[in-house]
Symmetry: none
Subunit: 203 residues, 4 copies
DNA sequence: CATGAATGAGGTTTCATTCAT
DNA sequence: AATGAATGAAACCTCATTCAT
């Protein structure tokens, strides 16, 4: 039984961690609170000390690290390298994270899978929308400046780039999470994937 | 209540159709059989006449039209056009289907989301694996022949092409299903997306 | 397991009956649905076929026979006997019912005890208020006509009569339900109680 | 947190006060210790320092001021006024208390409502029974002396008087507690109620 | 074939109670 | 003396499943 303030905080973190794992493994509906409690080394009751209910625990996961993907992307978009350089950097970082950081992957998968739950909370939905809109604008600007300086081909519109870029990341996240089941996904050379994409954008 | 054989068959089809919709909307665990029954215009009991249980209904969805994606891909892979032509054709068809055919999209989403359930049925899992391996081999051959004839750049390996190709399709399927929530996904010009990808592969 | 329409209706009635008994014995909060189910000879699940939840079962009890006290009173108030005659009749009937009709008593006790729950349902609250207002008006009229024709003393106002009248009935209902615990309530001669009250009203 | 003896005593009193309010508002079963703690300005844990458990807190309420109604009644019964004068005095005091003293009313309501809990403690039950028997005897004597001296009508038996007297008090306590819900109970002239009752008893 | 009724397992939630600090 | 954290029993409730009709 945990007693001190630090112990309590530890329990809180354990629950978030366990929640992320269980929810992303099984999905929200199939996840049992007893699983989460067990994984966190406490009893079900403890969850209700730290969170209002199952959904509140789930949403706390999101509030804690809402879409670290956006943070990653935004930082790079705001640095000073060239447009294609930025895209390469982002993809390198993100695909690398997807491969190696199970929590990052879990977070992404959850966000992909449980869109319905998120939309229950207008406030959170709003937040995500704003973040996305924000990154979107930076991304568009970047592409357009790349076109202007002759680095990026001028026969494509920025919107299509965003779509293929997003699709690739999301798709890769899925593939990386399902390596066991996907026979062809054995060894993935992300650098080559990035090369292909960059090449497709070059002027 | 006396029913004719046609009525029964109609109910069966309704249940499959309803099942596909509900399962793909909510995911397997969150989907309630009462939802399915309601969507099919019958009561829960009827499901148990046509299917052994919830999982059996779910798997029947797959047995009915297992992975139409592979069918589509395979047909094109076996025709006589050039490698890049084939890739363009496949992407054109698949992305188009994703955009316009809700059942196709639902089917893909389910297969993406419920990998675990599918893998519960070794027979089905085996089948999927074989199909994938089959398509994979054809795909690899195609890329390699493209490289050989100078159409495709020679500094990439076929495996990476498959990965980026798969990721794109899966990611696009996700984006297309979530248009309501994704602000940037308003109007998507799939042709441009394809152009970018093809360009990236060119020698 | 009940199967026919009549069986189902029987179960429904059993549940209402059991609910009335258990709720009035233990109070809403302390009553367990398993008690109700057991008393009705079914399992807990059956309750949820017939009612939405615990509160819905409780409220169904009320909707079924909302305050039979009002019905009883109203019928007498509208007949043609003299004011004091009516009062005597009402008290005779009601106190008799309280003594002999366990369901009537249970119903009254529930309504007394669970005012809070009732006020959760504005519609029901409204209904009760209207019924009461209705009876109240008839009662006031009756007293005033009794005063006018010289049967009832003219130094009291009708409102006070209603209050003492209501208090007596409610109080008696309580005493009658607690005979086991109340040492003095052994043999109660309700006729004498009525006599005292009537005498107090006489001109 | 260091507390003085007075602080502790204050907490104890706060808990009793809060308990009385919460228990009488919600009933024993529906009352949560967290409600009580909150009302007393402490946390749940504190309750367990001062009382063994929930029931112990409840019973302490009674042990503290067991049935002030009996005290009130007994004092008057033992004074030297005439029988009908005593009855008038008792009713005047009690109905007044019910109207103005929320704690008195709460106490009565609790005792009325939670008879079963009280009877769990033989010692307390015994005490209440004795008090009641005691008052009962004094009351009977009073009535009979009233009959003997010609003040009270001789066609009624003392037992019936006790019953209607008790019913009135209990019923009035109920009505007074539910004024919000009872439309007719707006302004209650208790003196008139008493007059009616006294008049009913007069020879 | 299908329905309506009921079961029962298993999940979520509440809350009295315990206990280290 | 009191708090904050956690436990665990027991309640409510959901829902896949069964089954007489």
């Amino acid at each position: 039984m945990r007693r001190t303030r630090e112990d309590s905080e530890a329990t809180h973190q354990q629950l978030l961690k366990a929640g992320l794992r269980i929810f992303s493994e099984k999905g929200y509906a199939a996840a049992r609170l007893s699983d989460v409690a067990y994984a966190a080394g406490v009893t079900r009751g403890a969850i209700y000390w730290h969170f209002k209910n199952k959904k509140d625990l789930f949403l706390a996961l999101f509030r804690k690290n809402v879409d670290p993907l956006f943070d990653t992307i935004k930082d790079v978009l705001e640095d000073k390298s060239s447009p294609l350089g930025k895209i390469r950097t982002i993809l390198t970082i993100v695909l690398e994270k997807i491969d190696t950081d199970a929590d990052f992957r879990a977070n992404q998968n959850l966000e992909f899978a449980e869109t319905k739950l998120l939309s229950d909370i207008p406030e959170l939905q709003q937040y995500l929308t704003n973040r996305a809109a924000n990154s979107y604008k930076l991304f568009i600007d970047m592409i357009e400046s790349g076109v202007k300086n002759g680095e990026i081909r001028n026969d494509i519109d920025a919107n299509s780039v965003i779509n293929i870029f997003s699709a690739m990341i999301r798709g890769y996240c899925f593939i990386s999470s399902r390596k066991d089941f996907l026979t062809f996904a054995g060894d993935i050379d992300t650098e080559q994937m990035i090369n292909i994409f960059i090449q497709g954008l070059k002027a």
